[in-house]
Subunit: 250 residues, 2 copies
DNA sequence: TTCTAAGTATGACAAAAGTCAGTTTTGAAA
DNA sequence: TTTCAAAACTGACTTTTGTCATACTTAGAA
């Protein structure tokens, strides 16, 4: 297993051949219970690719021809608003499937997926995905459950965007991002000392506000000792304090 | 089939016994292709109820024990924000399933469902729903497809809430609501003359703004001959004009 | 028909957030 | 180590939206 990276600005793709059975996220993936024959077929047919930080896996307009299983890394899913401004819709973490929504709805991708760090991604063809879905009802169950969960999160986020002021939404996003970068999950027991390395512009397009507003409120949070700012990186320091901001409502 | 309604303020429930096969929405429902034996079982087990306008079908905290199939009517799904303010998350129309998200995610309902007009709703037990899901993979497919579609709409709406000014979001909502009340679908060829009968407060909690702001912008739209206001009802008059507002971005 | 609570409307004002223009800092590449 | 484009920051200002107080209208119940 060789990993060459001459330059960060040049993008290289690498094919891997670690067996699925050895994949770190196998146990949490939708394929955890398939039989050996199917596992072998999956192994031989899937295409594993290393996507370098900042690279796109798919973008709007493309027709889905399968799904992507995220073996490692973090992916941001975003779309463009009418005015051309990016909106980050959600994140995908290792163990999750990517591109299911578009494949199932039978339409082109409506979002762009961009890696936030180097990410290992397995491509599974539409045919293979549907075949396993048919053979193993538990897979459909898991997919439905995951979609249900995403939908609930989306509805929660809609409410937040519609009703809460920017300051609260930012505090909320910082905690969630801290968990994401610290543990790879969107919620965790203790987000303290999680290091958020995203541009202020990216943060703004999660929170749904202007970059300058993010910068100003971050400066407030720093002043209030809730966070530390180290260059471009944000470190969460006072979790209860941030939670208090989220819960405080007029 | 008798329908008694002594008073609108008193709520009466009626049990029906129209066979599923005669249900107006059978062809578009997820049960369209089940065999006769299952149809008979479904017929005997489902519980059909007329919910009067304004009545709740379920609300947060309740544990889902099945799904609801909407035979006729329109249902609003809403949740409360941290500040106690209602947020309308989406609408369900005849032919759609209700409560799938909660049932599949295995958690309590996170939304309240309220009828906007008298609605006929069939309850289908969890056991029956999962049994049919297992027997007919096409049902799982349809459910997944529907969840995917809802997720896409939710992501679209998130972007809109995060990026567009109230005026544009209101214009957008008026068109969509006009279709909903005119045709029972959330998009239609011509929303002209659709009659929206919702309170300004409800409209505000779709758009994500204050009631007064809705009232003011509606007055502008009336001034601009885009809509007519007849008492509490809003009638869409100039669809291209409203579309122009949505598309106009600085 | 009358009554009344709920809903609608309007103005004055305050607060929140966006925009623009400019300066400073940062970090990756040469 | 130096360079420089991208990113972060700051201030002044405008626009948008929310809030509160108050008056008016509507639609459904008695």
């Amino acid at each position: 297993m060789i990993y060459l990276s001459i330059s960060r600005s040049t993008i290289y793709l690498f094919m891997w051949n670690t067996p699925c059975a050895n994949c770190a996220v196998m146990s949490q993936s939708i394929f955890s219970e398939i039989d050996q024959a199917d596992m072998i077929e999956l192994d031989s047919k899937r295409i594993t690719t290393l996507y370098v930080k900042g690279q796109k896996i798919f973008y709007p307009g493309q027709v889905p021809i399968g799904v992507y299983c995220l073996s490692s890394g973090i992916i941001k899913l975003s779309k463009l608003g009418e005015n051309g401004k990016e909106q980050i819709v959600r994140f995908a973490k290792s163990g999750e499937l990517l591109g299911v929504r578009a494949l199932l709805s039978g339409k082109k991708y409506s979002t762009t997926s961009t890696t936030l760090e180097d990410s290992m991604v397995c491509f599974i063809s539409k045919r293979m995905f549907f075949k396993l879905n048919l053979k193993y009802p538990y897979i459909s169950q898991k997919v439905m459950k995951s979609l249900s969960h995403l939908l609930e999160e989306a509805e929660e986020r809609m409410t937040s965007l519609a009703q809460r002021p920017v300051r609260e939404r930012l505090a909320e996003s910082l905690l969630f991002l801290s968990c994401l970068f610290k543990t790879g999950k969107t919620d965790c027991d203790d987000p303290t000392n999680g290091i958020i390395s995203l541009t202020r512009e990216d943060i703004a397009s999660i929170v749904g506000t202007a970059t300058e507003t993010v910068i100003r409120i971050l400066a407030d949070f720093k002043e209030e000792k809730l966070i530390e700012i180290k260059g471009r990186k944000i470190v969460i320091k006072n979790v209860p304090g941030l939670k208090r901001i989220i819960k405080s409502y007029s």
